[in-house]
Amino acid sequence: MKQIFYLLLIFSFCYPLTVDEILDKSESNDNFMTSVSSNIEEVHNSDGTVKVSEMKAFSKNGSEKTLMEYTEPKRIRGMKILMLNKGDDIWFYSNRTNRIRKIASHQKNQSANSSDFSYDDMSISDNRKDYIYSLAGEENYNGSGCYKIEFKAKEESVTYSRFVIWIDRSNYLALGGEFFDEDGKLWKKLEVREIKKIGKYWTAGEIEMKNIQRDSRTVIKTKEIKFDTGLPDDMFTERGLRK
């Protein structure tokens, strides 16, 4: 009986994780109560020009609720984006008109502030709902052993026809991704850098999205991040947008 128990224990360690288990573990990296960060966004255009924006981001319940406010450049200072239900519902607030508009799904695949990130990329929407996914093997990605997971669109209405992400086997953080357009051509490449553990949470200091077709790239750098400092619930409402 004892031998069977040991055999089962050894077997359980050797048993490969299912793709759902890998994604669950990856998502659990985002299980902080709250986070407050200051970020710099650099858009490097194909003509060599660089546009820099600054924003503050407030998240609650593992990015289930996120509020972003642009602080630079002056032209868009005070504009806010509220994402609820992991980015399923997005509201946009313009301080000049004092108007709040809910963004319909068609706008989620559009560039956020002329960057290479779409609103969809900036949220952490549940891709398992919209894509058929599978474990495509294990690979080295930028020197780290990774799970390679492939997602194929169930419907044409989603942003990408398919995409691939590499998840670090040691900490289950997504280190990179490749995203394909509706013709199956490579559209964007994601790279996550400067990974460090702050308190209990693994976090990325720099995220780069390259638009292969437009020959541009956008880098989001985290200047400062604080976890679990507590944020009021009403911050993540329309009332919070106007505050």
């Binding site: 032209r75 200072r77 319909a104 559009q110 409402t237």
Partner: protein, 431 residues
């Protein structure tokens, strides 16, 4: 007086620029917009004007903040306000029919006028001389030197409610081009792309649930009778947002223009259809009370609504379509008259005709460029306004815009056929 105001403005602007005390509580900013327009009709005219907007807000504590926006409109090359109309246009005809130029200025034509018409004409002349059109300070239609406080309010935050008191923007309705439920911020009819104007009001919002609110607003006039007030209940259902509102509309401006008191009930919604196409609409049923009428009489009630969709293709191409029904409008352009023009100016309706179709197509390209075409069609008199625009982000805080107003109509007597085409070049710098 003008010089004192200009001086005051320069002092305030300079103080703002010099103020380096901006911190997490105090925010200062704004923009300077410089525009040159060329009118292509008869004696060709070029105008030039500038708009300076100064915005400031200060977070007093987590319980309150103050915010103020100051506007200064400077007309560098003035032009006669009526240069924008062709000879024989609907506006020209109204002016010709009712007014004559005398040695003492402009006075009403006294022949063939009913006492009511004469009363209205005298009132409108009073309005012009009283500076009523100072409200339309941004407009290239009435270019003049103006200093306006567009917003100046105190906002107080309570546990489940917010109170905003002062001159403010109130954003009711879900339409993009038309907002029949919004009685608060009147839009300049000659500037379809322009901003709405702030209103002096006490605005109390009660919040409940995740995104539901009950909004009560009162906008005082010079006396209790000239007060606008109303409420709006807003909530969500699935992927849709909706609201219901009821208002009593009467103001000093409306009294000056001879517009009757009215009660309006309204509703709006926004959401999406076909898994991703934006869908919105708003409707308003108004019951005006003319002199001698009881409010319970509904013979003069009218209906206005707008509905539309918008969609962004994966290529970035954005399209919007919106239909507006104006129950107060005319479907024969021969009936456009002074009363209709007065209702338009007073914000009771957004066009002279009964039906309007608007469309917007926008496409960003080459990183920094966006081309946009706005179309506004009046199918009742078969005329339209086309507003093509090319915008270039010269710098993150400097936008350069080349746009044109092209008016088409089967005759100059139609709503848009009587307006003069123009092309404008505009540079906006944000600070």
């Amino acid at each position: 007086m003008k010089n004192i105001r200009s001086f005051l403005f320069v002092v305030i602007a300079a103080a703002a620029f010099l103020c380096q005390a901006e911190d997490q509580y105090l925010k200062l900013g704004g923009y300077l917009e410089s525009r040159m327009s060329y009118f292509a009709y008869g004696d060709e005219i070029t105008t030039a004007n500038a708009l300076f907007r100064m915005e400031g807000d200060y977070d007093v504590s987590d319980k309150g903040k103050v915010e103020a926006h100051l506007l200064y409109f400077y007309d560098m090359q003035p032009v006669d306000p009526f240069s924008g109309f062709k000879e024989g246009s609907v506006y020209d005809r109204i002016i010709d029919k009712y007014y004559q130029e005398t040695l003492d200025g402009i006075s009403p034509v006294l022949d063939d006028l009913t006492p009511d018409e004469l009363d209205l004409l005298n009132r409108i002349l009073d309005i012009y001389s009283s500076g009523y059109f100072d409200h339309v300070s941004y407009s290239s239609f009435f270019p003049k030197e103006t200093l306006v406080m567009d917003r100046a309010f105190i906002k107080l935050f309570f546990s489940s409610s917010d109170l905003v008191f002062g001159k403010q923007q109130i954003a009711w309705g879900t339409g993009y081009v038309f907002n029949p439920t919004d009685i608060w911020n009147i839009k300049d009819p000659s500037d379809p792309d322009g901003p709405k104007i702030g209103v002096l009001a006490a605005n109390l919002d009660f919040f409940f649930g995740e995104n539901s609110s009950f909004n009560i607003i009162a906008a005082p006039g010079s006396n209790f009778d000239n007060m606008k007030y109303g409420f709006r209940l807003k909530s969500t259902a699935g992927r849709y947002e909706y609201s219901f509102s009821a208002v009593r509309d009467k103001s000093d401006d409306a009294t000056l223009l001879g517009l009757p008191e009215r009660v309006q009930i309204g509703s709006d919604f926004s959401g999406e259809i076909f898994s991703g196409v934006g869908f919105f609409g708003e409707a308003a049923l108004s019951n005006p009370r003319y002199a001698g009428m009881e409010l319970s009489e509904t013979d003069s009630a009218y209906f206005q609504f707008c509905t539309g969709f918008d969609y962004t293709f994966k290529s970035g191409l954005y399209v919007l379509g919106e239909y507006y029904y104006n129950g107060l409008g005319e479907n024969d352009h021969k009936n456009y008259d002074l009363a209709a023009f007065t209702r338009l100016t007073g914000g009771v309706m957004s066009g002279l005709a009964e039906n309007y179709i608007s469309a917007v197509v926008s496409y960003p390209f080459l990183n920094d460029y966006t081309c946009t075409l706005i179309g506004l069609v009046n199918p009742d008199d078969i005329s339209c306004a086309l507003l093509p625009e090319l915008e270039y982000a010269f710098h993150q805080n400097i936008m350069v815009k080349l746009n044109s107003n092209i008016y088409l109509g089967r005759s100059s007597r139609t709503e848009f056929g009587g307006l003069v085409n123009k092309i404008s070049f505009c540079v906006t710098g944000y600070f």
